[in-house]
């Protein structure tokens, strides 16, 4: 089987409808999280800040009202200025702008998921590689550990760890999610390593007396990039869900807003009973759309790498 160049693979991927759809939605949300703040005068915490002239002191102005989406209002600031503002997605029970919080929350959630996926995937790859390549008792011990971690519900472990930490930054949350997400990756990477290490090119490398590390990174690893990438995508979507659930229980980052903390606040301040749908529908919808998009990216990639899965005609 001739090896395809990486560029070709990317080209084929972009001819796959599912991949393109998922990728576009994902890209949209990433770009939105970065530039979305430009379309609102409000700061990331949903407040309007005004700097006192000739100082660096900034004073926040509240809206005091619960407003539906696209409401206009005139704020009177601390200095007595009148500012006309539009709340694109309305305000929450504290009068804070929901749209501005959503942009920041999305950025936090994506950042947590990205870091957690990176940590989980790196950890999983390492364990899977060592287990698959070394074999014997090393493999058995590592796989026993992996299977144990797989059965213990990770969310419970996450809650337990998060509850013991009183100050939580998004990065801390990413670490605790990352260290529970790796078992799936480890299993997948191990299976791949087992099948790859029997191939001719690995035997050839062994015959030429290359070191283990060189064989792993030089010979086996390049053949697994696509596989590892797909495992990373699944880690990413798992991490978004895990962090949203933790935030929702009240164990989210204490330093900033995220999509999950917005939902938690909405429940805590009875947004459902008061019918403030603009407060809780957008954050959940964004989470759902991102995870759906990741599913489609994964599906598309599977079809690219494993043409048997392609359903005839399309």
């Amino acid at each position: 089987m001739a090896r395809r160049s990486k560029l070709d693979t990317v080209k084929i991927a972009f001819r796959n409808g599912k991949f393109v759809l998922g990728f576009s939605v994902l890209m949209f949300f990433i770009v939105f999280s970065l530039v979305g703040g430009l379309f609102t005068p409000f700061s990331g915490d949903g407040l309007y800040y005004e700097r006192i002239p000739n100082t660096t002191v900034k004073i926040a102005t509240y809206s005091h009202k619960v407003l539906p989406p696209m409401s206009n209002e005139t704020l009177t600031t601390y200095l007595g200025n009148k500012v006309r503002v539009t709340h694109i997605l309305g305000t929450d029970a504290f009068g804070k702008d929901v749209y501005a919080q959503l942009v920041t929350g999305l950025r936090t959630s994506l950042w947590v998921a990205f870091l957690a996926a990176l940590i989980g995937t790196a950890f999983g790859i390492t364990i899977g590689f060592i287990a698959g390549y070394k074999g014997g008792w090393v493999d058995e011990t590592l796989m026993m550990f992996t299977n144990i971690m797989l059965v213990i519900p990770s969310i419970i472990l996450l809650i337990l760890i998060a509850a013991y930490l009183s100050a939580r930054s998004p990065e801390v949350q990413a670490v605790i999610i990352g260290i529970t997400g790796w078992p799936w990756v480890a299993r997948a990477v191990r299976a791949q390593t087992l099948s790859l290490k029997e191939r001719e090119f690995v035997s050839l490398a062994k015959l030429s007396a290359q070191g283990d590390l060189k064989i792993i990174f030089g010979e086996i690893m390049p053949n697994m990039i696509s596989y590892v990438f797909m495992a990373g995508i699944l880690q990413f979507s798992g991490a978004i869900l895990a962090s949203a659930t933790l935030d929702f229980i009240g164990l989210g980052p204490t330093t900033t807003v995220s999509l999950g903390t917005i939902l938690q606040k909405a429940i805590a301040y009875n947004a459902l009973q008061f019918g403030n749908w603009w407060w809780f529908i957008p954050p959940g919808l964004i989470i759902t759309l991102i995870i759906t998009a990741l599913f489609f990216v994964n599906l598309g990639m599977e079809e690219v790498f494993n043409p048997r899965l392609r359903r005839g005609g399309e």
């Binding site: 026993m144 299977n147 144990i148 797989l150 059965v151 213990i152 519900p153 990770s154 969310i155 419970i156 472990l157 809650i159 337990l160 760890i161 998060a162 509850a163 013991y164 930490l165 009183s166 979507s237 869900l241 895990a242 949203a244 659930t245 929702f248 229980i249 009240g250 164990l251 939902l263 909405a266 429940i267 459902l272 009973q273 019918g275 749908w277 809780f280 529908i281 954050p283 959940g284 989470i287 759902t288 759309l289 995870i291 759906t292 599913f295 489609f296 048997r308 899965l309 359903r311």
Partner: protein
């Protein structure tokens, strides 16, 4: 036939693995608070309102009460010994033994989760098989399945509360029964209980359908392309016969899937109970986590782990009976 002997061997191996997992989980449960920064006793005292300057005498009293003044190995043994005596410690938040609190919450979890898991499994597999067979239906159903499977359980639960509960006012959405009711075996109470049950049940059931349907759809497509189906087709087998065989082979991995999914469903169940304020373990966990009631948290952790392990073990046994390959492995030794 070496069936019985083989089955015994399989059972013993599985029991051993689950026992190790249980040991590991309990040890982790004991170790985690000791690895964390800060002192749980101080936290609990602050919580109980005896904060301010830390009272040394009271602190020592608590340390002795929880055995924290003893060497670590002894603490570990004590932990196990009290566990087997059903002593999970004392909840600061609810001011009652942890085991009693959990005992009262557990029935509510079972009543919601068991039907939701089993029914979603059946319906999801059925819908997935339909999509796998029928390309026209698949075109619309597949994205819908993925969308369902992507929804956070608690968000869908919130949508249900908002639409069915608040806007339409059709069903109650808070608690397991009306505050004016007393739990008893009367028709009034049962009707009231069932009304409160519907929305939390739907919240879990609907979202779970998605991932079962996806799994089944993919398995059916895979099986229908397999050589044995092609062979049956070439022999002139009817379409009904083909799908019957494909279905029987596709359902087996779905049983294993059930075991693997259980751990993931825990998250959904906890968050859904919080939305509906349904008095199961989920609400306990949230309250315990927020008020740093560590004994309650540890007890709830243990309960969930034991439940997941038991369910996995049961599924492993069922699987051994229905999968001819596992069965064959006994008879061959």
């Amino acid at each position: 036939m070496g069936f019985n002997e083989g089955f015994k061997k399989y059972l013993m191996r599985k029991t051993f693995v689950y026992l190790i997992t249980f040991l590991f989980a309990v040890t982790l449960n004991w170790l985690l608070p000791r690895l964390m920064p800060g002192n749980p006793i101080e936290g609990m005292m602050a919580q109980a309102g005896s904060g301010g300057g830390v009272n040394d005498a009271l602190m020592r009293f608590y340390e002795r009460l929880y055995g924290l003044d003893q060497p670590l190995w002894k603490q570990f043994l004590n932990f196990w010994s009290s566990l087997f005596h059903g002593d999970l410690g004392y909840s600061i938040l609810y001011r009652a033994p942890v085991w009693d609190i959990i005992k009262h919450a557990l029935p509510y979890d079972i009543v919601i989760l068991l039907p939701a898991i089993l029914l979603s499994w059946l319906v999801g597999n059925w819908l997935g098989a339909l999509a796998g067979k029928n390309k026209k239906y698949d075109r619309y159903a597949m994205p819908a399945f993925y969308f369902l499977a992507s929804m956070p359980y608690f968000w869908f639960a919130m949508i249900l509360v908002y639409t069915v509960g608040v806007s339409l006012g059709w069903l109650p959405y808070q608690g397991a029964y009306s505050p004016s009711m007393i739990p008893e075996l009367s028709l009034d109470f049962i009707v009231d209980f069932l009304k409160h049950w519907i929305l939390p049940f739907l919240g879990l059931f609907t979202v779970m359908i998605g991932s079962w349907a996806i799994g089944m759809r993919n398995m059916i497509i895979y099986e229908l392309e397999a050589d044995y189906v092609r062979y049956l087709e070439a022999l002139g087998g009817s379409e009904k016969l083909l799908t019957k065989h494909a279905y029987r082979n596709a359902i087996l991995p779905q049983v294993t899937g059930l075991a693997l999914q259980l751990g993931l469903m825990v998250a959904g169940a906890i968050a859904t109970e919080i939305v509906f304020n349904y008095p199961g373990i989920g609400v306990l966990i949230m309250n315990a986590a927020l008020s740093q009631d560590y004994f309650l948290l540890q007890g709830a952790f243990l309960m969930v782990v034991v439940a997941v392990l038991l369910a996995n073990f049961m599924i492993d046994i069922i699987y051994a009976f229905i999968d001819p390959r596992v069965r064959a492995s006994y008879t061959e030794g």
